[in-house]
């Protein structure tokens, strides 16, 4: 079987298994899988009770990977996450790995921990390694962090710094389920038998897929489109849309364009193609850029959302900079 068909089968099975537990959120599930195969991490944002934690736990269930959950609190210390050296009976120090040494890490309510603790995840997320007492400890691949945060309970929280946010491949927003979805939630969760997802994929298959995915070709016009989208988020550039220049303080980093292209590559395979198209880039633009654009005071004061800015950018930036002459 060809890789494309193989990947499509895996994807369909993953989605089907997760959907057994999670009602709705098809797009969110798809984007989580895209991030997983892209080698990125996901920040899930939503109101309490929307199933953020359940989604991550379900993903861990369907993947044959080690899973750990860290509940972030203000008194959580970095060592509580990454681990520490402890003295054993023979008076020798031995490294005790923290919960970050798992393949799927759920950082629940990540914005409740102090920035010091939050930043303990930086190296792990970016380098897939942890340094303790001068010793670098490699994390086992695949390493996938899924953090959740509550957007309304701001008291006693520490908003994630830009550097931390930039480490996340996607930021996904969970909206409130509609009426039918709520009915399904009742049926699935209040019956004596709760649905359970079965394991579909192991870490090795994921790693193989990640390599294959990176081999998907991207044409220059498509890459150029992604680059122009990133540049359009920068308010200091005259070519940026007027909305960006007015309401945006900082634009997306180069990690943004990496996310766009990698995410688009996975999306193209999901769509059954061996090449990235403009539509793939557009599909991943919102989750890839929404946490990388920082609004200025005026934008915040006017109650704007970064999604509005991204929509405006998508409207303003043409797919081709110079359209060929067409009859």
């Amino acid at each position: 079987m060809e890789f494309r068909e193989e990947f499509k089968t895996i994807f369909d099975r993953l989605r089907a298994e997760i959907s057994k537990v999670i009602v709705g959120y098809e797009d969110i599930i798809e984007q989580v899988i895209i991030a997983l195969f892209s080698g990125g991490h996901v920040l899930l944002e939503g109101l309490p009770g929307l199933g953020k934690t359940l989604m991550v736990k379900t993903l861990a269930d369907v993947l044959d990977l080690t899973f750990s959950r860290i509940q972030f609190t203000p008194d959580l210390m970095p060592s509580d996450i990454i681990g520490t050296n402890i003295m054993e009976r023979d008076r020798a120090f031995r490294f005790q790995p923290g919960p970050v040494f798992a393949q799927i890490v759920l950082a629940d309510e990540i914005n409740r921990a102090t920035p010091k603790t939050q930043s303990a995840l930086l190296e792990a997320m970016q380098e897939h390694s942890v340094t303790v007492s001068g010793t670098i400890h490699k994390l086992k691949e695949p390493f996938f962090v899924m953090a959740t945060q509550n957007p309304i309970e701001m008291e006693g929280t520490y908003p994630l710094p830009e550097a931390q946010l930039d480490r996340f491949f996607f930021k996904l927003k969970l909206n409130f389920p509609d009426r039918e979805e709520l009915m399904s939630i009742i049926d699935r969760t209040t019956n004596p038998e709760t649905p359970r997802a079965e394991k579909v994929l192991n870490g090795e298959a994921i790693e193989t897929s990640k390599i294959e995915i990176r081999g998907v070709p991207v044409a220059t016009p498509v890459k150029d489109y992604a680059v122009r989208l990133i540049l359009a988020t920068h308010p200091e550039l005259e070519t940026s849309p007027s909305m960006v220049r007015r309401y945006v303080r900082y634009g997306a980093s180069p990690r943004g364009v990496q996310s766009l292209i990698l995410g688009a590559k996975v999306k193209s395979l999901i769509e059954g193609r061996y090449n990235v198209s403009f539509s793939d880039v557009r599909y991943v633009t919102r989750p890839a850029l929404r946490h990388r654009i920082i609004l200025n005071f005026e934008g915040e004061a006017e109650g704007l959302d970064t999604d509005m800015i991204i929509d405006n950018i998508l409207e303003e930036v043409p797919e081709l900079e110079n359209e060929p002459v067409k009859p």
């Binding site: 060809e2 890789f3 494309r4 294959e212 081999g215 998907v216 070709p217 991207v218 044409a219 220059t220 016009p221 498509v222 769509e271 193609r273 061996y274 090449n275 990235v276 198209s277 403009f278 539509s279 081709l320 060929p324 002459v325 067409k326 009859p327």
Partner: protein, 448 residues
Amino acid sequence: MRELNKFISRVRLKIRSVLFFNWLLELYIYLSAIYIVNYFFHLDVSYYYLLIPVFFAIFLSLVRPIDNRDVAIIIDKDLGLDERVITSLEFNGLDSPIVKRLISETVDMLRNLNIKNVYPFRFRKRLKYLLLIPPLLFLSLSLYQNVFYPGEVSPQVEESGVSRISMDLITLQQKLVPERPDLAKRLEVLRKEMEEKRITSKEGINILEEITKEIDNTPAGNMDSNARADIKKTLELVMEGMNDKGMSPATDNENSRKEEPQDSSGEGTGGKGMEAGGDKPVDEEGGKTSPSYTGEEEDTSGAMSNEQGEQTGINEEEKSGADSAGGPVDGSAGDSGEEVEKEGTLAGSDTVEEGGTLPGKGERDNKLGEETGRNQVQNILEYVPGIAKEEGGIKLKIKGSGKETSPAVEGGTQGAPVKSVEDPVEGESIPYEYKEMIRIYFERLKGE
């Protein structure tokens, strides 16, 4: 991969040809707009301009060529191939199973496509709108002309036409001055009338034709042959110009109204003191016209006579009668001639002293050998063959009055002796037998 390149090349050729024809058509639309404006405003746009779009379309094809990359993008967009073709083209030759698979898939997709079906000859969208320009422009210009200049040639055209003709007439006039100053004078009158729009182009052409005839009839000794050819050529050009440019129909109507009295006078019913082709009563310009009328009176009445022995040239009615005689100055009694007779101008005793043989139409020889006619249309002196006297007149002695007339007819007098003279040879010093013959001749005429 060769198949992909081949397909792209074919599509590129098709697109380029379609684009070329689109550009060509677009440029011709613009050009047609120019020609429409030219039609209304006579801008003298050359027909060589028709070649410009061809060169321009070729130029655009060279300046804005379509490469394979552009074609690939167009194919991807038009056929909804999600950038497969452009990706295949870019990653051609890469040793990757994914790329190879992509290319083979793309070729499979394109293989079954018929370019004619995929890319039929089509016009660019804006051409549909551009096609509206020529008819709209034509309609708007027609409307403009009809609203602001109803039934007329546009003022620009008329102005340019008349001014050019005026210039031509001046040139012609200058050429005529040394040869035929009289004709030069007529041209000046014609020019002024045209400038004042008192004359139609048709009338102008008629006058020029008459002038041409006169030049033809001018004896070779009186005009240099080169000058004659040159003048005739210029005349033809001017007439041609007048034919082309024309004058406004309103001017024609206006002038045709002015002609009405003249026409009726030609039938002998009118001509009461009105100068033919003009509005002014003759008495206003009596000094100018009366001498010629005097001659005509003699001509038409057949006898230069007047009961009072007064110079008849000043009689308006007689003048108009002569004017309306229609030009046949042949001595036969026209309407006006009769009119004069009724007034008792045929006094039996009145005779023309100088032999009573004033020339008729000029067909008869006479002693003086000079005669003049009259252009009935323009009321301008018209010279029939004969030599004009510079001093311009024949002294007429009217018997019975004892007065001598000096009509000072410019270029000569008109008229002919007629039978009303009873015994014109009585006092002549000719042999008796001749006198008898003459008397018998006139008696016969009287009998008729």
